[in-house]
């Protein structure tokens, strides 16, 4: 797998059609690529460039700016531990240490079995619920060390898969606009796209 699958190409064209200028679809399409393969491959970026009329350099230029896009494989589960100020005050750094110890890897690394990647992240907007972490961008508020251990056991045993999709999928619900409901007047009068 590398280029977008035929179904994903259809999805990509739907997404592109919603924007007055096609390049605006770039970040959503990189997410589609990451959802398909778990990370963003060079081939997928090339394909997205073809769809949007952008060079590979332009696609990579945008992709590389954003933290969520991984350009090499990561674990099935990305564990993002917040250590920013509100969490630091309530044990965020100790939580990160515990996570590293429990999984046997330091922040930035992936476990040998490819299950978990740990990251030491900035504020994830759950500051009143410190300490907190995300697994594939699903929140765990006021999490204790013991609760994290249980979570790891559950994930290894496949018990939380309905709640937490594998890495690459953020939203599991997509916007659908029925053709007869689409107003389609947002670009009226806008100068033609210049590439």
């Amino acid at each position: 797998m590398a280029r977008l699958s035929p179904e994903n190409e259809v999805l990509a064209r739907q997404i592109i059609g919603r924007y007055p200028r096609s390049r605006s679809a770039l970040i959503p399409l990189l997410h589609v690529a990451q959802e398909q393969d778990g990370w963003v491959t060079d081939e997928a970026m090339g394909h997205i460039g073809e769809l949007l009329g952008l060079s590979s350099a332009e696609v990579l230029g945008t992709c590389s700016f954003y933290e969520m896009f991984k350009r090499e494989p990561v674990g099935t589960y990305l564990v993002n531990v917040c250590t920013n100020i509100s969490c630091q005050l309530l044990g965020g750094e100790e939580l990160l240490e515990h996570v590293e110890e429990r999984l046997g890897v330091k922040a930035g690394a992936t476990t040998a079995d490819g299950m978990f990647t740990v990251e030491d992240v900035e504020c994830i907007a759950a500051c009143t619920e410190a300490p907190c972490l995300q697994v594939n961008y699903r929140y765990f508020h006021r999490i204790t060390h013991a609760a994290f251990d249980t979570l790891v056991d559950d994930l290894r045993a496949g018990r939380r898969s309905d709640e937490i999709p594998t890495h690459g999928t953020t939203t599991r619900v997509r916007q659908h606009v029925p053709a007869d409901r689409w107003a389609g007047v947002g670009a009226d009068g806008l100068a033609p796209e210049v590439r």
Binding site: R18, Y19, P20, R21, R23, S24, A25, L26, I27, P28, L30, H31, L52, G61, T62, F65, Y66, E67, M68, F69, T83, N84, I85, S86, Q88, L89, L90, E122, C123, I124, A125, A126, C127, T128, E129, A130, Q134, N136, Y137, R138, Y139, T170, T171, R172, V173, R174, Q175, H176, V177, P178, R181, W182, A183, G184, V185, G186, A187, D188, G189, L190
Partner: protein, 444 residues
């Protein structure tokens, strides 16, 4: 001052199990404001928002009605962009509004678009907020199907589209011109203002209104109850209710909707219905009044009201409504270093003072924490700070493209001025004070 009994405006459905669904929203009055507005002129809706005197809740506190009035007449297309990138450390409210009451935001977007005559709006949700994206996607799908968004809205003949867009992780994208760059599919680096004020040259170089999620969530209530009713809450200068995320060392951390201007920091931190006081009966050491970018406040600031003008005058800002409380057990050096690490990490790199300066500040603080600090480091920290933010004034003299650079200086100026002996102790005690084992032959 006081804990007031002002009505809740935007949190009324937070505890309603189906508050995020169309059925739950409409059952509790949802989309009534839209239907009523469609029977009035856009100018009348705009006038209600102007009369409400609602200050933007994203950080800068600019009055929304005034901003909407800046759009040049007769330049089309024009766009509305919703800033749901919430990532200022300490800030947690927009995510709640998107997860728990997505239709309220969508109705606010529709009303704002109607008032300013925008035919397309984009809700830019932070990439890491998967559930908020799901809730908004579901809500938009419901609203399109119910004829509330899209072609011929509620049978009125008025049409517009609302598109859910989502980011991919970068704090700086919260800055409005960076948000627009990102929405155009580029690296999220801020644009120079002027000339790129969004209201004049925004998305696709067209007039664009950028508003925070919380700002727009208030609009349905304002349209239903009238701008005057909103302006009657709070004070003349700071109107209405506002969400404050109270985090850190309080008994009851939480997100509270409080009346501006009349409630004080002390009320918020100590009142039993809010923070309930410092945890474990401890004492206050410092608090950040408006997110990581804001200069810190101390005990002597507790009785200031939650009002923009007063907090500005006292040398900080209400910013994004994030109050971070530190008790007397807090290591000021560690706290300061953590906030500076954030800015160093998030600098987009476009301006030299910010890119180089924040990196240096971070490295100097790390060596102080590691027990390798030098006595000259404290002057060096202030000197580098002065190069990013000349004079280290508040508000900063901005020599960078956006305020991120000067914001990195806030925690240093605050902590170093107030808690200098703690920094000196780290430096004097060297590695032993920092409890780092000394290895023979190690660096240094």
């Amino acid at each position: 001052m006081a804990v007031t009994d002002a009505p809740k405006i935007i949190t009324t459905r937070f505890d309603q199990a189906d508050g995020h669904t169309l059925a739950g929203y409409e059952r509790t009055g949802g989309y009534a404001a839209l239907r009523a507005a469609l029977g009035r002129t856009p100018a009348e809706v705009l006038d209600e928002v102007k009369a409400a005197n609602i200050q933007g809740r994203g950080g800068a506190g600019f009055p929304a009605g005034t901003k909407w009035g800046f759009l040049p007449a007769d330049v089309h297309p024009r766009y509305l962009v919703v800033n749901g990138d919430e990532s200022e450390p300490g800030t947690y409210k927009d995510r709640l509004l998107m997860e728990r009451d997505p239709h309220q935001l969508i109705e606010g977007v529709l009303l704002a678009s109607y008032a300013v005559d925008a035919k397309q709006a984009f809700i830019y949700v932070r990439g890491e907020m998967a559930v908020a994206q799901e809730r908004l996607a579901t809500a938009l799908n419901e609203a399109y199907a119910a004829g509330l968004v899209g072609r011929d809205i509620a049978g009125s003949g008025w049409s517009m589209d609302v598109i859910l867009h989502w980011g991919a992780g970068a704090y700086i994208v919260g800055e409005e011109t960076a948000l627009i760059e990102s929405l155009e599919g580029r690296r999220g680096m801020p644009r120079l203002k002027p000339p790129f004020f969004p209201a004049v040259k925004g998305l696709y170089m067209q007039p664009t209104i950028v508003n925070n999620v919380e700002t727009l969530a208030n609009i349905p209530w304002i349209v239903t109850n009238g701008g005057a009713a909103f302006a009657a809450l709070g004070t003349e200068e700071s109107a209405g209710m506002r969400l404050f995320a109270l985090s850190g060392h309080v008994r009851n951390p939480g997100v509270y909707e409080v009346e501006m201007g009349k409630t004080t920091f002390r009320d918020l931190i100590e009142a039993p219905v809010y923070g309930g006081g410092i945890r474990n009966g401890g004492t206050l050491k410092a608090f950040i009044p408006g997110g990581a970018s804001a200069p810190w406040f101390f005990e002597e600031h507790l009785d200031l009201p939650l009002s923009k003008a007063t907090v500005d005058k006292a040398g900080s800002m209400l910013g994004s409504g994030a109050v971070v409380v530190m008790d007397d057990t807090t290591d000021a050096v560690k706290a300061c270093a953590r906030v500076v690490r954030f800015f160093a990490h998030e600098s987009c790199g476009k301006c030299t003072p910010c890119r180089e300066g924040t990196t240096w500040l971070h490295q100097i603080l790390q060596r102080i924490l590691a027990g390798d600090g030098r006595p000259s480091d404290l002057e060096l920290l202030m000197d580098v700070s002065d190069n990013i933010s000349p004079g280290i004034t508040w508000p900063p003299k901005q020599t960078t493209i956006c305020p991120l650079g000067p914001s990195a200086v806030s925690p240093i100026a605050s902590a170093l001025r107030r808690f200098r002996p703690e920094f000196e102790a780290y430096i004097a005690g060297g590695r032993h004070a920092a409890a780092v084992p000394v290895e023979v032959g190690a660096r240094g």
